[in-house]
Symmetry: C2
Subunit: 243 residues, 2 copies
DNA sequence: CGTTATCTTGACGTACATCAAATGTCGTGG
DNA sequence: CCACGACATTTGATGTACGTCAAGATAACG
Protein backbone atom coordinates (compact mmCIF):
# COMPACT_ATOMS: atom_id res chain seq x y z
CA UNK A 1 0.00 0.00 0.00
CA UNK A 2 1.37 3.37 -0.99
CA UNK A 3 1.58 6.08 1.59
CA UNK A 4 0.03 8.60 -0.75
CA UNK A 5 -3.30 6.91 -0.12
CA UNK A 6 -3.41 8.44 3.35
CA UNK A 7 -2.43 11.96 2.53
CA UNK A 8 -5.87 13.39 1.99
CA UNK A 9 -7.53 11.98 5.09
CA UNK A 10 -7.19 14.48 7.87
CA UNK A 11 -9.33 12.92 10.54
CA UNK A 12 -8.54 14.53 13.86
CA UNK A 13 -9.82 18.00 14.78
CA UNK A 14 -7.08 20.17 13.32
CA UNK A 15 -8.03 23.59 14.65
CA UNK A 16 -8.60 24.32 18.33
CA UNK A 17 -7.83 27.29 20.49
CA UNK A 18 -4.07 26.75 20.57
CA UNK A 19 -3.85 24.21 17.75
CA UNK A 20 -4.20 20.46 18.14
CA UNK A 21 -0.72 19.97 19.62
CA UNK A 22 -1.76 21.82 22.77
CA UNK A 23 -4.45 19.26 23.53
CA UNK A 24 -2.52 16.20 22.36
CA UNK A 25 -2.32 13.40 24.91
CA UNK A 26 1.14 12.44 23.69
CA UNK A 27 2.63 15.83 24.47
CA UNK A 28 4.29 15.04 27.79
CA UNK A 29 5.98 11.88 26.55
CA UNK A 30 7.13 12.99 23.11
CA UNK A 31 9.43 15.56 21.52
CA UNK A 32 6.69 18.14 21.93
CA UNK A 33 7.46 18.21 25.65
CA UNK A 34 10.53 20.33 24.94
CA UNK A 35 8.43 23.12 23.38
CA UNK A 36 6.83 26.16 25.02
CA UNK A 37 3.39 27.46 23.99
CA UNK A 38 4.68 29.41 21.00
CA UNK A 39 6.67 26.45 19.77
CA UNK A 40 3.61 24.29 20.19
CA UNK A 41 1.63 26.66 17.99
CA UNK A 42 4.27 26.41 15.30
CA UNK A 43 4.26 22.63 15.56
CA UNK A 44 0.47 22.59 15.29
CA UNK A 45 0.73 24.62 12.11
CA UNK A 46 3.03 22.15 10.37
CA UNK A 47 1.89 18.79 11.77
CA UNK A 48 -0.81 16.82 9.98
CA UNK A 49 -2.99 14.54 12.13
CA UNK A 50 -3.95 11.23 10.52
CA UNK A 51 -5.59 7.98 11.44
CA UNK A 52 -4.84 4.46 10.23
CA UNK A 53 -6.96 1.29 10.44
CA UNK A 54 -5.47 -2.00 11.67
CA UNK A 55 -3.10 -3.41 9.07
CA UNK A 56 -2.85 -0.15 7.15
CA UNK A 57 0.66 1.18 6.60
CA UNK A 58 1.79 4.66 7.56
CA UNK A 59 4.65 4.29 5.07
CA UNK A 60 6.50 1.47 3.36
CA UNK A 61 10.14 0.51 3.20
CA UNK A 62 11.59 2.20 0.13
CA UNK A 63 9.10 5.08 0.01
CA UNK A 64 10.83 8.39 -0.46
CA UNK A 65 11.13 9.85 3.03
CA UNK A 66 9.72 13.36 3.29
CA UNK A 67 8.36 13.33 6.83
CA UNK A 68 8.77 12.14 10.40
CA UNK A 69 5.85 10.57 12.25
CA UNK A 70 4.66 10.92 15.81
CA UNK A 71 2.27 8.31 17.22
CA UNK A 72 -0.46 9.79 19.42
CA UNK A 73 -2.47 6.64 20.15
CA UNK A 74 -2.55 2.94 19.28
CA UNK A 75 0.36 0.68 18.38
CA UNK A 76 2.53 0.64 15.27
CA UNK A 77 4.90 -2.12 14.16
CA UNK A 78 8.08 -1.25 12.29
CA UNK A 79 8.99 -3.95 9.77
CA UNK A 80 11.62 -5.03 7.30
CA UNK A 81 11.00 -7.70 4.68
CA UNK A 82 13.09 -10.13 2.66
CA UNK A 83 12.01 -10.77 -0.94
CA UNK A 84 10.78 -14.26 -0.12
CA UNK A 85 8.44 -12.96 2.58
CA UNK A 86 10.53 -13.49 5.70
CA UNK A 87 9.79 -10.61 8.01
CA UNK A 88 11.53 -8.93 10.92
CA UNK A 89 9.59 -6.66 13.25
CA UNK A 90 12.12 -4.05 14.43
CA UNK A 91 9.92 -2.70 17.16
CA UNK A 92 6.53 -1.54 18.35
CA UNK A 93 5.76 2.15 18.70
CA UNK A 94 3.07 3.61 20.92
CA UNK A 95 1.87 6.98 22.21
CA UNK A 96 4.59 9.58 21.98
CA UNK A 97 6.99 7.50 19.92
CA UNK A 98 8.77 9.02 16.97
CA UNK A 99 9.04 7.18 13.65
CA UNK A 100 10.97 7.59 10.43
CA UNK A 101 14.28 8.51 12.02
CA UNK A 102 16.36 5.94 10.16
CA UNK A 103 16.20 7.43 6.70
CA UNK A 104 18.64 7.66 3.87
CA UNK A 105 16.40 9.50 1.39
CA UNK A 106 14.04 6.54 1.60
CA UNK A 107 12.55 4.85 4.62
CA UNK A 108 14.67 1.81 5.44
CA UNK A 109 11.71 0.08 7.15
CA UNK A 110 7.94 0.22 6.90
CA UNK A 111 5.44 1.20 9.60
CA UNK A 112 2.06 -0.52 9.92
CA UNK A 113 -0.84 0.03 12.28
CA UNK A 114 -1.36 -2.91 14.64
CA UNK A 115 -4.69 -1.61 15.92
CA UNK A 116 -6.43 1.71 15.25
CA UNK A 117 -3.66 4.31 15.25
CA UNK A 118 -3.65 8.06 15.39
CA UNK A 119 -0.51 9.88 14.45
CA UNK A 120 0.89 13.18 13.25
CA UNK A 121 2.84 13.54 10.06
CA UNK A 122 5.64 16.11 10.29
CA UNK A 123 6.86 17.13 6.83
CA UNK A 124 10.65 17.26 6.89
CA UNK A 125 11.07 20.73 5.37
CA UNK A 126 8.99 22.73 7.84
CA UNK A 127 9.97 20.49 10.74
CA UNK A 128 13.68 20.98 10.09
CA UNK A 129 13.09 24.72 9.85
CA UNK A 130 11.45 24.56 13.27
CA UNK A 131 14.39 22.53 14.58
CA UNK A 132 16.79 25.30 13.52
CA UNK A 133 14.82 27.80 15.58
CA UNK A 134 14.39 25.52 18.61
CA UNK A 135 17.67 24.10 19.93
CA UNK A 136 15.80 22.37 22.77
CA UNK A 137 13.73 20.44 20.24
CA UNK A 138 16.88 19.52 18.35
CA UNK A 139 18.57 18.24 21.49
CA UNK A 140 15.46 16.24 22.38
CA UNK A 141 15.38 14.66 18.93
CA UNK A 142 19.06 13.77 19.13
CA UNK A 143 18.48 12.17 22.50
CA UNK A 144 15.61 10.12 21.07
CA UNK A 145 17.76 8.80 18.23
CA UNK A 146 20.59 7.93 20.62
CA UNK A 147 18.13 6.10 22.90
CA UNK A 148 16.72 4.20 19.91
CA UNK A 149 20.28 3.22 19.01
CA UNK A 150 20.84 1.86 22.52
CA UNK A 151 17.51 -0.01 22.52
CA UNK A 152 18.35 -1.62 19.18
CA UNK A 153 21.67 -2.80 20.56
CA UNK A 154 19.80 -4.67 23.29
CA UNK A 155 17.74 -6.25 20.54
CA UNK A 156 20.85 -7.28 18.61
CA UNK A 157 22.11 -9.09 21.68
CA UNK A 158 18.69 -10.70 22.09
CA UNK A 159 18.45 -11.92 18.50
CA UNK A 160 22.07 -12.99 18.27
CA UNK A 161 22.56 -14.77 21.55
CA UNK A 162 19.42 -15.43 23.60
CA UNK A 163 17.30 -18.59 23.78
CA UNK A 164 13.60 -18.65 22.91
CA UNK A 165 12.65 -18.52 26.58
CA UNK A 166 14.93 -15.54 27.23
CA UNK A 167 13.60 -13.74 24.15
CA UNK A 168 9.97 -14.13 25.18
CA UNK A 169 10.84 -12.97 28.70
CA UNK A 170 12.66 -9.99 27.18
CA UNK A 171 9.58 -9.06 25.19
CA UNK A 172 7.13 -9.47 28.06
CA UNK A 173 9.37 -7.56 30.44
CA UNK A 174 9.67 -4.64 28.05
CA UNK A 175 5.94 -4.54 27.39
CA UNK A 176 5.10 -4.80 31.08
CA UNK A 177 7.59 -2.06 31.95
CA UNK A 178 5.69 0.37 29.73
CA UNK A 179 2.29 -0.47 31.13
CA UNK A 180 3.23 -0.33 34.82
CA UNK A 181 -0.26 -1.68 35.53
CA UNK A 182 -1.11 -5.14 36.79
CA UNK A 183 -2.52 -6.47 33.55
CA UNK A 184 -1.01 -5.35 30.26
CA UNK A 185 -2.61 -5.47 26.83
CA UNK A 186 -0.86 -7.23 23.97
CA UNK A 187 -2.41 -5.51 20.96
CA UNK A 188 -0.16 -7.36 18.50
CA UNK A 189 -0.70 -10.90 17.22
CA UNK A 190 1.49 -13.93 17.96
CA UNK A 191 2.89 -13.57 14.46
CA UNK A 192 3.99 -10.01 15.19
CA UNK A 193 5.61 -11.15 18.41
CA UNK A 194 7.31 -14.07 16.68
CA UNK A 195 8.66 -11.83 13.93
CA UNK A 196 9.93 -9.41 16.56
CA UNK A 197 11.75 -12.16 18.45
CA UNK A 198 13.10 -14.04 15.44
CA UNK A 199 10.97 -17.11 16.30
CA UNK A 200 7.80 -18.84 15.04
CA UNK A 201 4.29 -18.44 16.42
CA UNK A 202 4.38 -22.02 17.68
CA UNK A 203 7.55 -21.44 19.68
CA UNK A 204 6.16 -18.20 21.11
CA UNK A 205 2.95 -19.94 22.12
CA UNK A 206 4.74 -22.88 23.71
CA UNK A 207 7.05 -20.55 25.61
CA UNK A 208 4.09 -18.54 26.90
CA UNK A 209 2.60 -21.68 28.41
CA UNK A 210 6.00 -22.63 29.89
CA UNK A 211 6.22 -19.26 31.64
CA UNK A 212 2.61 -19.62 32.75
CA UNK A 213 3.27 -23.07 34.22
CA UNK A 214 6.35 -21.71 35.96
CA UNK A 215 4.09 -19.07 37.62
CA UNK A 216 6.19 -16.27 36.18
CA UNK A 217 3.31 -14.74 34.27
CA UNK A 218 -0.44 -15.28 33.92
CA UNK A 219 -2.32 -15.09 30.64
CA UNK A 220 -6.01 -14.60 31.51
CA UNK A 221 -6.71 -13.98 27.83
CA UNK A 222 -4.51 -14.45 24.77
CA UNK A 223 -3.98 -10.69 24.49
CA UNK A 224 -3.47 -9.91 28.15
CA UNK A 225 -0.57 -10.65 30.50
CA UNK A 226 0.00 -10.28 34.19
CA UNK A 227 3.55 -10.47 35.46
CA UNK A 228 3.48 -12.56 38.63
CA UNK A 229 7.21 -12.58 39.36
CA UNK A 230 8.92 -9.50 37.92
CA UNK A 231 12.41 -10.29 39.32
CA UNK A 232 12.45 -13.76 37.79
CA UNK A 233 11.09 -12.43 34.52
CA UNK A 234 13.81 -9.81 34.36
CA UNK A 235 16.53 -12.29 35.33
CA UNK A 236 15.37 -14.56 32.53
CA UNK A 237 15.21 -11.67 30.07
CA UNK A 238 18.78 -10.71 30.91
CA UNK A 239 20.03 -14.22 30.25
CA UNK A 240 19.96 -15.54 33.81
CA UNK A 241 20.73 -19.19 33.26
CA UNK A 242 18.20 -20.29 35.88
CA UNK A 243 15.46 -22.36 34.25
CA UNK B 1 39.99 -3.77 32.03
CA UNK B 2 39.10 -0.29 33.19
CA UNK B 3 39.23 2.57 30.77
CA UNK B 4 41.15 4.73 33.21
CA UNK B 5 44.21 2.64 32.39
CA UNK B 6 44.45 4.35 29.03
CA UNK B 7 43.97 7.91 30.05
CA UNK B 8 47.55 8.86 30.66
CA UNK B 9 49.07 7.44 27.51
CA UNK B 10 49.08 10.15 24.86
CA UNK B 11 50.98 8.45 22.11
CA UNK B 12 50.41 10.30 18.87
CA UNK B 13 52.15 13.58 18.11
CA UNK B 14 49.72 16.03 19.66
CA UNK B 15 51.13 19.34 18.50
CA UNK B 16 51.78 20.20 14.90
CA UNK B 17 51.44 23.38 12.90
CA UNK B 18 47.66 23.36 12.75
CA UNK B 19 47.09 20.74 15.43
CA UNK B 20 46.96 17.00 14.87
CA UNK B 21 43.46 17.06 13.36
CA UNK B 22 44.74 18.89 10.29
CA UNK B 23 47.06 16.03 9.40
CA UNK B 24 44.74 13.21 10.44
CA UNK B 25 44.16 10.59 7.79
CA UNK B 26 40.60 10.05 8.96
CA UNK B 27 39.60 13.64 8.34
CA UNK B 28 37.87 13.23 4.98
CA UNK B 29 35.76 10.28 6.08
CA UNK B 30 34.75 11.38 9.56
CA UNK B 31 32.81 14.17 11.26
CA UNK B 32 35.87 16.36 10.96
CA UNK B 33 35.14 16.71 7.26
CA UNK B 34 32.41 19.22 8.05
CA UNK B 35 34.83 21.63 9.73
CA UNK B 36 36.86 24.48 8.24
CA UNK B 37 40.44 25.27 9.33
CA UNK B 38 39.38 27.21 12.40
CA UNK B 39 37.00 24.49 13.49
CA UNK B 40 39.75 21.95 12.99
CA UNK B 41 42.03 23.94 15.29
CA UNK B 42 39.36 23.93 17.97
CA UNK B 43 38.84 20.20 17.52
CA UNK B 44 42.60 19.63 17.81
CA UNK B 45 42.60 21.53 21.07
CA UNK B 46 39.99 19.32 22.69
CA UNK B 47 40.67 15.91 21.16
CA UNK B 48 43.06 13.51 22.86
CA UNK B 49 44.93 11.07 20.62
CA UNK B 50 45.44 7.58 22.07
CA UNK B 51 46.63 4.19 21.01
CA UNK B 52 45.40 0.74 22.04
CA UNK B 53 47.07 -2.66 21.70
CA UNK B 54 45.16 -5.67 20.31
CA UNK B 55 42.57 -6.84 22.85
CA UNK B 56 42.78 -3.69 24.91
CA UNK B 57 39.49 -1.91 25.51
CA UNK B 58 38.84 1.74 24.72
CA UNK B 59 35.95 1.64 27.20
CA UNK B 60 33.72 -0.97 28.80
CA UNK B 61 29.98 -1.44 28.91
CA UNK B 62 28.75 0.31 32.05
CA UNK B 63 31.60 2.80 32.28
CA UNK B 64 30.34 6.30 32.90
CA UNK B 65 30.26 7.94 29.49
CA UNK B 66 32.14 11.22 29.38
CA UNK B 67 33.50 11.17 25.84
CA UNK B 68 32.96 10.22 22.23
CA UNK B 69 35.64 8.34 20.32
CA UNK B 70 36.87 8.67 16.77
CA UNK B 71 38.92 5.85 15.24
CA UNK B 72 41.82 7.03 13.12
CA UNK B 73 43.40 3.68 12.23
CA UNK B 74 42.98 -0.01 12.95
CA UNK B 75 39.78 -1.91 13.73
CA UNK B 76 37.60 -1.80 16.84
CA UNK B 77 34.87 -4.24 17.80
CA UNK B 78 31.83 -3.04 19.73
CA UNK B 79 30.55 -5.71 22.12
CA UNK B 80 27.79 -6.54 24.56
CA UNK B 81 28.02 -9.38 27.05
CA UNK B 82 25.63 -11.61 28.95
CA UNK B 83 26.59 -12.55 32.52
CA UNK B 84 27.35 -16.14 31.55
CA UNK B 85 29.84 -15.04 28.90
CA UNK B 86 27.70 -15.13 25.77
CA UNK B 87 28.85 -12.27 23.59
CA UNK B 88 27.36 -10.24 20.76
CA UNK B 89 29.59 -8.14 18.53
CA UNK B 90 27.45 -5.17 17.48
CA UNK B 91 29.83 -4.01 14.81
CA UNK B 92 33.35 -3.28 13.65
CA UNK B 93 34.61 0.29 13.48
CA UNK B 94 37.50 1.48 11.33
CA UNK B 95 39.15 4.70 10.19
CA UNK B 96 36.81 7.63 10.53
CA UNK B 97 34.14 5.80 12.50
CA UNK B 98 32.56 7.41 15.52
CA UNK B 99 32.03 5.48 18.76
CA UNK B 100 30.16 6.01 22.01
CA UNK B 101 27.01 7.45 20.46
CA UNK B 102 24.60 5.10 22.20
CA UNK B 103 24.94 6.37 25.74
CA UNK B 104 22.54 6.81 28.60
CA UNK B 105 24.98 8.24 31.10
CA UNK B 106 26.92 5.01 30.77
CA UNK B 107 28.20 3.25 27.68
CA UNK B 108 25.70 0.58 26.72
CA UNK B 109 28.38 -1.46 24.94
CA UNK B 110 32.13 -1.86 25.19
CA UNK B 111 34.76 -1.09 22.52
CA UNK B 112 37.88 -3.25 22.13
CA UNK B 113 40.84 -2.99 19.79
CA UNK B 114 40.98 -5.88 17.31
CA UNK B 115 44.46 -4.96 16.07
CA UNK B 116 46.62 -1.95 16.91
CA UNK B 117 44.24 0.98 17.03
CA UNK B 118 44.74 4.71 17.03
CA UNK B 119 41.87 6.89 18.06
CA UNK B 120 40.92 10.28 19.41
CA UNK B 121 39.01 10.76 22.61
CA UNK B 122 36.58 13.70 22.51
CA UNK B 123 35.49 14.73 26.02
CA UNK B 124 31.74 15.38 25.96
CA UNK B 125 31.79 18.79 27.62
CA UNK B 126 34.15 20.60 25.25
CA UNK B 127 32.88 18.65 22.26
CA UNK B 128 29.25 19.61 22.93
CA UNK B 129 30.34 23.21 23.31
CA UNK B 130 31.97 23.01 19.90
CA UNK B 131 28.79 21.44 18.50
CA UNK B 132 26.80 24.48 19.67
CA UNK B 133 29.10 26.77 17.74
CA UNK B 134 29.23 24.59 14.60
CA UNK B 135 25.81 23.69 13.22
CA UNK B 136 27.45 21.86 10.30
CA UNK B 137 29.21 19.55 12.76
CA UNK B 138 25.97 18.98 14.60
CA UNK B 139 24.13 18.07 11.39
CA UNK B 140 26.94 15.71 10.41
CA UNK B 141 26.77 14.00 13.79
CA UNK B 142 23.00 13.64 13.57
CA UNK B 143 23.39 12.11 10.13
CA UNK B 144 25.94 9.63 11.46
CA UNK B 145 23.63 8.50 14.25
CA UNK B 146 20.71 8.13 11.83
CA UNK B 147 22.91 6.07 9.48
CA UNK B 148 24.03 3.87 12.39
CA UNK B 149 20.38 3.34 13.25
CA UNK B 150 19.63 2.23 9.68
CA UNK B 151 22.67 -0.07 9.59
CA UNK B 152 21.61 -1.69 12.86
CA UNK B 153 18.18 -2.35 11.44
CA UNK B 154 19.78 -4.32 8.62
CA UNK B 155 21.59 -6.29 11.29
CA UNK B 156 18.37 -6.98 13.19
CA UNK B 157 16.89 -8.46 10.02
CA UNK B 158 20.05 -10.49 9.54
CA UNK B 159 20.12 -11.91 13.08
CA UNK B 160 16.39 -12.49 13.27
CA UNK B 161 15.66 -14.01 9.91
CA UNK B 162 18.70 -15.00 7.83
CA UNK B 163 20.36 -18.42 7.48
CA UNK B 164 24.01 -19.02 8.35
CA UNK B 165 24.97 -18.85 4.69
CA UNK B 166 23.16 -15.56 4.18
CA UNK B 167 24.70 -14.11 7.33
CA UNK B 168 28.24 -14.94 6.28
CA UNK B 169 27.56 -13.52 2.80
CA UNK B 170 26.14 -10.39 4.47
CA UNK B 171 29.32 -9.97 6.49
CA UNK B 172 31.71 -10.58 3.61
CA UNK B 173 29.76 -8.29 1.32
CA UNK B 174 29.84 -5.46 3.83
CA UNK B 175 33.55 -5.89 4.49
CA UNK B 176 34.37 -6.10 0.80
CA UNK B 177 32.29 -2.99 0.05
CA UNK B 178 34.48 -0.97 2.40
CA UNK B 179 37.74 -2.18 0.96
CA UNK B 180 36.86 -1.74 -2.74
CA UNK B 181 40.12 -3.52 -3.51
CA UNK B 182 40.51 -7.02 -4.94
CA UNK B 183 41.70 -8.65 -1.76
CA UNK B 184 40.35 -7.49 1.58
CA UNK B 185 41.91 -8.01 4.99
CA UNK B 186 39.94 -9.63 7.79
CA UNK B 187 41.68 -8.29 10.87
CA UNK B 188 39.18 -9.93 13.22
CA UNK B 189 39.23 -13.57 14.35
CA UNK B 190 36.65 -16.23 13.46
CA UNK B 191 35.30 -15.85 16.98
CA UNK B 192 34.70 -12.15 16.42
CA UNK B 193 32.94 -12.90 13.15
CA UNK B 194 30.85 -15.65 14.75
CA UNK B 195 29.82 -13.37 17.61
CA UNK B 196 28.91 -10.68 15.09
CA UNK B 197 26.73 -13.06 13.08
CA UNK B 198 25.13 -14.88 16.01
CA UNK B 199 26.82 -18.16 15.02
CA UNK B 200 29.71 -20.36 16.19
CA UNK B 201 33.25 -20.37 14.80
CA UNK B 202 32.66 -23.85 13.38
CA UNK B 203 29.62 -22.76 11.42
CA UNK B 204 31.44 -19.67 10.13
CA UNK B 205 34.39 -21.78 9.04
CA UNK B 206 32.22 -24.39 7.34
CA UNK B 207 30.26 -21.68 5.54
CA UNK B 208 33.47 -20.03 4.34
CA UNK B 209 34.54 -23.28 2.68
CA UNK B 210 31.05 -23.68 1.16
CA UNK B 211 31.30 -20.24 -0.43
CA UNK B 212 34.83 -21.03 -1.56
CA UNK B 213 33.73 -24.28 -3.20
CA UNK B 214 30.84 -22.43 -4.86
CA UNK B 215 33.45 -20.06 -6.41
CA UNK B 216 31.74 -17.05 -4.82
CA UNK B 217 34.80 -16.02 -2.83
CA UNK B 218 38.44 -17.08 -2.53
CA UNK B 219 40.33 -17.29 0.75
CA UNK B 220 44.07 -17.27 -0.12
CA UNK B 221 44.80 -16.93 3.58
CA UNK B 222 42.58 -17.25 6.62
CA UNK B 223 42.57 -13.47 7.08
CA UNK B 224 42.16 -12.45 3.47
CA UNK B 225 39.21 -12.68 1.11
CA UNK B 226 38.69 -12.06 -2.58
CA UNK B 227 35.15 -11.70 -3.84
CA UNK B 228 34.96 -13.65 -7.12
CA UNK B 229 31.25 -13.13 -7.83
CA UNK B 230 29.96 -9.92 -6.23
CA UNK B 231 26.42 -10.15 -7.67
CA UNK B 232 25.89 -13.64 -6.30
CA UNK B 233 27.41 -12.68 -2.97
CA UNK B 234 25.06 -9.71 -2.70
CA UNK B 235 22.04 -11.76 -3.77
CA UNK B 236 22.86 -14.30 -1.07
CA UNK B 237 23.41 -11.57 1.52
CA UNK B 238 19.99 -10.07 0.73
CA UNK B 239 18.28 -13.42 1.23
CA UNK B 240 18.13 -14.54 -2.39
CA UNK B 241 16.92 -18.12 -2.03
CA UNK B 242 19.26 -19.37 -4.75
CA UNK B 243 21.73 -21.80 -3.34
C1' DC C 1 -24.82 -20.31 15.94
C1' DG C 2 -22.14 -21.55 12.12
C1' DT C 3 -17.75 -19.74 9.90
C1' DT C 4 -13.33 -18.28 9.94
C1' DA C 5 -9.14 -16.57 11.89
C1' DT C 6 -6.08 -17.06 15.81
C1' DC C 7 -4.00 -19.57 19.23
C1' DT C 8 -2.44 -23.88 21.36
C1' DT C 9 -0.70 -28.51 21.43
C1' DG C 10 1.48 -32.62 19.41
C1' DA C 11 4.68 -35.42 16.31
C1' DC C 12 8.59 -35.15 13.66
C1' DG C 13 12.50 -32.93 10.90
C1' DT C 14 16.57 -30.02 10.37
C1' DA C 15 19.93 -26.27 10.64
C1' DC C 16 23.07 -25.15 13.52
C1' DA C 17 25.50 -26.17 18.14
C1' DT C 18 28.51 -29.08 20.62
C1' DC C 19 32.22 -32.11 21.27
C1' DA C 20 36.43 -33.88 19.47
C1' DA C 21 40.34 -34.33 16.59
C1' DA C 22 43.30 -33.04 12.66
C1' DT C 23 45.61 -29.49 10.24
C1' DG C 24 47.58 -25.13 9.56
C1' DT C 25 50.04 -20.81 11.15
C1' DC C 26 53.24 -18.19 13.54
C1' DG C 27 56.63 -16.82 16.89
C1' DT C 28 60.66 -18.40 19.50
C1' DG C 29 64.91 -20.39 20.38
C1' DG C 30 68.38 -23.90 19.38
C1' DC D 1 67.22 -22.75 8.86
C1' DC D 2 64.56 -25.80 11.20
C1' DA D 3 62.22 -27.78 15.40
C1' DC D 4 58.99 -26.90 18.67
C1' DG D 5 54.98 -25.34 21.10
C1' DA D 6 50.86 -22.52 21.40
C1' DC D 7 46.97 -21.13 19.28
C1' DA D 8 43.70 -20.40 15.35
C1' DT D 9 41.26 -22.61 11.89
C1' DT D 10 39.23 -26.46 9.59
C1' DT D 11 36.90 -30.80 9.39
C1' DG D 12 34.19 -34.66 11.25
C1' DA D 13 30.59 -37.07 14.27
C1' DT D 14 26.74 -36.42 17.02
C1' DG D 15 23.17 -33.77 19.76
C1' DT D 16 19.37 -30.54 20.37
C1' DA D 17 16.60 -26.30 20.30
C1' DC D 18 13.67 -24.64 17.48
C1' DG D 19 11.19 -25.06 12.92
C1' DT D 20 7.72 -27.43 10.13
C1' DC D 21 3.64 -29.89 9.42
C1' DA D 22 -0.76 -31.17 11.16
C1' DA D 23 -4.69 -31.33 14.25
C1' DG D 24 -7.56 -29.47 17.84
C1' DA D 25 -9.21 -25.72 20.91
C1' DT D 26 -10.74 -20.82 21.47
C1' DA D 27 -12.12 -16.77 20.31
C1' DA D 28 -13.96 -13.25 17.01
C1' DC D 29 -17.71 -12.06 13.83
C1' DG D 30 -21.40 -11.82 10.97
Amino acid sequence: MKFEGNLGRIVLPACLIRGHCAVCGARETSVCGSLDDRGLDELSALSQPHEAAPGESLYDEGDSADAYFNVTSGTVRVVKLLRDGRRQVLGFAGRGDFLGLAIKGEFVAGAEAVDRVRYCRLPLGPFRALLERRPALQRRLYQIVADDLAAQQDQLLMLGRKTARERVAFFLFKIAARGAKDAVELPMSRLDIADYLGLTIETVSRTFTQLRKAKIVALPKADRIVVLDPPRLEALAEGGSQN
